[in-house]
């Protein structure tokens, strides 16, 4: 009797874990990422002839909490139409009971990897402003992300910035997102795994005391599991941590971190939610003010600092006026000779 090699067993195990898309419009190409809840595969949509990313549970769990979370994530993504949020194309359940949803395949790299290449501060701040815009949009729709971190931000080759992984998002104001009852009647509702069927689930609530998020990027109240008191400011804390990551990654070089940016990150990450920015837009606007050489909310300036900032902002004009005055003085001297 011949024993199977470890390699062969590993290959068999991997093949058995791969989802079977038989009977769907998708052809599996490769696994591109995996996380605590499931994996993301690159697949081809045979009907439309395009690449899609499919997020799917690692184990069949069509009626369990994980499935509900994945379905809820698809529901939230489908409700948030914004250039900074990856669009959902389809959702369903495989024959083996695994729940999945198909989304746009984003070709790019994660922010943590991108930041290793992008060395200019303005380039990083531009990306950060786009993240703030996207998060601000989600907040206006009553959705908290709750897991904002560089690994969950994708940057595309054409300047796209996409906030990913809304798996543990919290709906603050459920009325802002169409609930299944509010869905138009003409939406298909069947049991064969179509989008409408998969999304027709009540929003999942996270139990008080449950801690979801990533240490280092999680607001203190979120880390305490104070779920009921979480609001937009928890995401603002995470945005502050992302800003700190971006400026710290830059500081690994020879340049020093501007004090104003450190102050902005500190304000966003205040232990007391009341001390943070009131909204993601406000944080983004403070970054814009910093970029434009204007005073920011997070950093009160003294007179010397005001003069220094003014001088830096109008450096060229000052240099040109001084150049003119020097040349004019030379001309006067020359004419009077």
């Amino acid at each position: 009797m011949n024993w199977l090699s470890d390699k062969a067993i590993a290959r068999l195990r991997s093949a058995s874990a791969e989802p079977d898309f038989a009977g769907t419009r998708y052809r599996l190409i490769e696994r591109i990422a995996s996380g605590g809840m499931g994996s993301v595969y690159l697949a081809e949509d045979a009907t439309l002839g395009r690449s899609v990313a499919i997020k799917i549970l690692d184990v069949p769990d069509s009626s369990g909490e994980l499935a509900a979370r994945l379905q809820r994530e698809a529901h939230i993504l489908a409700s948030l139409e914004h250039p900074g949020i990856v669009p959902v194309h389809d959702a369903g359940t495989l024959a083996d009971g695994r729940v999945f949803y198909a989304m746009k395949f984003v070709e790019g790299e994660r922010l943590d990897r991108f930041s290793e290449r992008e060395s200019t501060l303005p380039g990083r701040l531009r990306i950060f402003q786009r993240i703030c815009d996207t998060v601000a949009f989600a907040h206006t729709r009553g959705v908290l992300h709750r897991d904002l971190k560089p690994e969950n931000i994708m940057t595309g080759p054409f300047g796209e910035v996409l906030v990913m992984d809304w798996g543990i998002a919290k709906i603050l104001r459920a009325n802002r997102i169409a609930t299944p009852a509010e869905m138009p009647r003409e939406q298909p509702r069947d049991d064969s795994g179509t989008l409408a069927a998969v999304l027709s689930l009540a929003p999942l609530e996270t139990a008080h005391g449950a801690v979801l998020g990533t240490p280092g990027y999680m607001a203190p109240e979120q880390a305490r599991g104070d779920v009921e008191r979480l609001d937009e400011r928890a995401d603002i804390y995470s945005l502050g941590a992302i800003l700190q990551f971006l400026i710290a990654a830059r500081a690994h070089g020879t340049q020093t971190t501007p004090r104003v940016l450190t102050a902005i990150a500190r304000k966003a990450m205040d232990a007391d939610p009341a001390g943070r920015y009131a909204s993601a837009s406000e944080l983004g606007q403070d970054i814009a003010r910093y970029v434009d050489g204007l005073p920011v909310l997070a950093y009160p300036e003294n007179v010397l600092q005001k003069v220094g900032r003014w001088g830096a902002r109008y450096r060229l004009a000052i240099v040109l006026v001084l150049t003119y005055l020097v040349l004019r003085a030379l001309l006067i001297f020359w004419f009077r000779r």
């Binding site: 060229l316 004009a317 040109l320 003119y324 040349l327 004019r328 001309l331 006067i332």
Partner: protein
């Protein structure tokens, strides 16, 4: 700040200085106030024209040339009215135009123009 505003402000500031330096010419010192007002107005007008040019033509060389030309032309009119001090008036006037031409090409936002067209 858009290019026209940038040109206006820089042209005005340099115009004031341009007028004030006439204090060093004792013969015209009594007319200092009129000269300062005239050269400020000249600087503002030249700044606006150079700013409009910079908004339409994106070329540092052409911008500098246009600025120099406008500065010299305006200064020539002033010198012609006085029938004197051609070099003393035209050289600084040309210098103002040249500096404003360079500054409006390098700095200032031209997006206001495209936004107003849409």
């Amino acid at each position: 700040m858009n290019k026209v505003t940038y040109g206006l402000i820089l042209g005005g500031i340099l115009g004031i200085f341009d007028g004030l330096t006439s204090w060093f010419t004792p013969a015209v010192r009594p007319q200092l106030m009129g000269i300062v007002l005239g050269s400020t107005f000249k600087g503002l007008l030249a700044g606006v024209l150079i700013g409009i040019f910079a908004r339409k033509v994106h070329s540092r060389g052409l911008g500098v040339l246009f600025g120099l030309g406008v500065g010299l032309l305006f200064a020539f009119f002033i010198a012609y009215m006085q029938r004197n001090y051609y070099v003393q008036i035209m050289v600084p006037g040309g210098l103002v135009g040249l500096i404003v031409g360079y500054a409006t090409q390098k700095y200032g936002d031209s997006s206001t123009a495209s936004a107003s067209r849409t």
